[in-house]
Amino acid sequence: MFTRPTTDQILRAVADDLATVVLPDLTGEPVKVAVQMMIQLLAGCAVRAAHETAWMAEEGAAIEAAVGGLDDPATRTALAAYRAAGTDLHLEAAAARYDQAGEALGAAVEYAYRSGDTAVAGRLRQLLAVRSGHEMAIVGALELVGRG
């Protein structure tokens, strides 16, 4: 299998060509909007291709460490499912495992607010901020094309 150029390099190149070669030659507004969406989506896919497997694993480990000691049945159940999900790196399996980590985090957040534990809520919010930081790296500069 060739790994160079990397997937993210190829996706970025396709997005760049769409922006610099294809888009200037388009005249119909609906088509231009569609291509502008494609460019942004491809740019996001490039970031995901480069980082998402690692980010999912890192976030999952951080969530496991943060919520493992909470006395909440819903959190414990989700965490057990996360731990049982194995270590398969294929995307579908990795996404399913990340989903279980997210379930544990969501349950833990609800528990923290329900029990009024502001210290735990604050720590969990930091994990949410990390997740959001990764998401915003994928989105990049959001441009709502076709709006208005």
Partner: protein, 343 residues
């Protein structure tokens, strides 16, 4: 509706049926418009030669089911428009094809308003603070309509408390129903539940009150378009929603001077300072987007399941991700300001 070869004849036949005494009708031009993600749009120039009458209409119709980004009801939108026209500056409703029997898809025929898009108008100016007053007036104009002036088809929540409970719970339901876990939405629901604002009277809310759905008329009034998501709710949701969308695609007219906006809006609606101030606005900046969030997530989930193939469904997920970062930032700011000692 997007076939310019076929539509002029269909539209002419439809209009002839609507006004049988007006004589022959000709559709002299028909062009597809862009500008909305959710509906098919077209503009038509129409003449009635015997009456020496001309009109420019916009057709607003449903896309085919497999191209539908969200599902809304044209008849309901028609009823809302009929209720607000004359009280709010809108594109006046003229005709309705509720089933698509005549126009090929359920569609409204509404007046074309010769006004500048608010986004375009603002883009060419350095300072848009003079729009704060007209924006407050536009919102208050429909927020203060009495419930008995609104279509019976709109659900009436039993109370503000019940309504807010349901709105907060919609965040939880949206997270629960999605195709993957959404811990930030569950956090938002928990936070909103813990920081409830004072109640207000329920009223008509637009549901998609953002600059892209507003025009600026020559007389300075703001014209409000696209009423497909209108419902009865907490009017402050529209204001928060406006600010939320403006964070992603400004300018944020309210945020230019949120104290001034709140003061003008309170003056027009009779709300108290406790009911509407910049902190309450920020609460609704988060709460007010839940309907759009749910619809966008449903679109993304449908794409993931292979139920639709719309790039716009995937593209909409970017707005959710942007929103998540914004909700985290605003809730953290509000918590910090609430914890800070008063000086």
């Amino acid at each position: 509706m997007h076939d310019p070869a076929e539509m002029p004849a269909r539209l002419a036949a439809f209009l002839a049926l609507q006004e049988p005494d007006a004589g022959p009708v000709e559709v002299v031009s028909y062009e597809v418009m862009t500008g909305g993600y959710s509906r098919l749009l077209a503009r038509a120039e129409v003449v009635w030669p015997q009456q020496d009458r001309r009109a420019t209409y916009v057709l607003r119709g449903d896309p085919p089911a497999d191209r539908a980004y969200i599902v809304t009801d044209r008849t309901r939108e028609w009823e809302v428009l009929r209720a607000v026209v004359g009280r709010v500056a809108v594109s006046a409703p003229r005709y309705l094809d509720p089933t698509g029997e005549h126009l090929g898809t359920p569609a409204l025929v509404i007046d074309h308003v010769p006004a500048a898009s608010l986004l375009g108008y603002m883009a060419g100016r350095d300072d848009n603070r003079d729009l704060i007053g007209p924006l407050a007036e536009a919102a208050a104009a429909f927020h203060t309509l009495r419930l008995d002036q609104l279509p019976a088809a709109l659900d009436r929540p039993a109370s503000w408390q019940e309504y807010l409970n349901d709105r907060i719970d919609e965040w939880r339901r949206t997270a629960r129903d999605h195709i993957e876990s959404l811990p930030i939405l569950r956090y938002v629901a928990a936070w909103l539940d813990a920081h409830r604002p004072p109640p207000v009277a329920l009223g008509l809310i637009h549901g998609d009150f953002q600059s892209a759905n507003l025009l600026r008329a020559d007389d300075g009034r703001i014209v409000v378009l696209d009423w497909e998501l209108a419902q009865i709710g907490d009017p402050r949701e529209d204001l928060g929603y406006f600010r939320a969308v403006a964070q992603a695609a400004g300018p944020d007219v309210i945020g230019l001077d949120d104290e001034a906006f709140c003061a003008r809006y309170r003056q027009l609606t009779g709300m108290t300072v406790e009911q509407l101030n910049p902190s309450v606005l920020a609460y609704f900046l988060v709460l007010g987007v839940v309907g759009t969030v749910r619809r966008m997530l449903e679109g993304g989930a449908a794409f993931a399941r292979g139920d639709n193939h719309l790039l716009s469904s995937v593209f909409g997920q970017n707005s959710i991700l942007f929103g998540q970062s914004m909700w985290l930032a605003f809730t953290e700011q509000l918590d910090a300001s609430a914890a800070a000692p008063e000086v």
